[in-house]
């Protein structure tokens, strides 16, 4: 029954979105984490999404021609989490305990506004996947009542 696949697809979407939310939380939490060198400074993290292609094709096909010849997608996966290579913010704060010998501290390249927008986008997408799963559930529950009076 391919209704079961919808649970996997929506589940993969929810996993990916919650991971994206996780990186956003980490970025916002570390938005003001300063350090005294470029290497040690926190960099904004971003997940890279990629579509999963179903590897096993159902060769039988359905009564309506089926999908035997091609792969139906099977959801989304997080391929990698990359660190942003944008320029770090260098600020002259000689009184800061983390200042280097020239009096500079390095702030992360986290754009808080962008992160907030990302957060809203991922929470909406998460909700959408939950809706899809709920609909699939009610479809499945109806199928189970087939033939009952």
């Amino acid at each position: 029954m391919s209704l079961g696949n919808i649970f996997d697809i929506a589940g993969s979407g929810m996993t990916a979105q919650s991971l994206r939310l996780n990186t956003t939380a980490s970025n916002i939490a570390n938005a003001e984490t300063v350090s005294s060198s470029v290497e040690e400074t926190y960099r904004a993290r971003k997940p890279v999404f990629a579509a999963i292609q179903q590897s096993v094709l159902d060769s039988q096909g359905s009564g309506l021609g089926g999908f035997g010849q091609q792969a139906v997608g099977a959801g989304v996966r997080v391929e990698a989490i990359v660190e942003s290579q944008a320029e770090l913010q260098m600020r002259y704060e000689p009184d800061h305990p983390a200042a280097n010998e020239d009096g500079y501290v390095f702030y992360p390249n986290v754009n808080v506004v962008e992160e907030m927008a990302d957060m809203m986008s991922s929470s909406r997408s998460f909700q959408m996947n939950v809706d899809v799963m709920n609909t699939a559930k009610s479809m499945m529950q109806r199928i189970l009542t087939l033939g009952q009076q």
Binding site: Q70, G73, V76, M128, N129, A136, M139, R142
Partner: protein, 132 residues
């Protein structure tokens, strides 16, 4: 005339199956709403239904030779077609979330309708068997 489930249930069993498949494709579109470069896909339900109807009535074009061309449209075999995006996006993604969600909901409602038809076919059969 032989009585088979195929004859008794009509097209509704195929419709239900096609609806399930379409729900899967649309769910996949929605799950990949944020995937760069993902192209939204869909199936041509009408073409599939027409083909199924033609097959059931036995009026479809027969292919008796290898060189005969398939006269049906590519969507009729249940192939996944690509959606034409209304507006381009920078990351190459063609999923229009709201439109996809509306289609998914509509598909779920039509699934319920097909289910209702199938269910009443079964209750009709049950009535006939019990003779009440």
């Amino acid at each position: 005339m032989a009585i088979t489930f195929d004859n008794a249930l009509g097209i509704h069993q195929h419709a239900l199956e096609a609806r399930t498949k379409r729900a899967e494709v649309l769910a996949n579109n929605l799950a990949n709403a944020d995937t760069p470069g993902f192209k939204a896909r869909d199936i041509d339900f009408q073409a599939m239904m027409r083909r199924a109807q033609g097959e059931m009535s036995g009026l479809s074009m027969a292919q008796t030779h290898a060189a005969h061309m398939d006269t049906s449209s590519p969507g009729a075999q249940g192939q996944l077609l690509y959606r034409l995006p209304h507006q381009p996006s920078i990351d190459g993604n063609t999923v229009d979330t709201q439109a996809e969600q509306a289609r998914f909901m509509r598909n779920a409602m039509e699934f319920q309708a097909s289910f209702q038809f199938l269910n009443s076919k079964f209750s009709g059969l049950t009535k006939a068997i019990t003779g009440q």
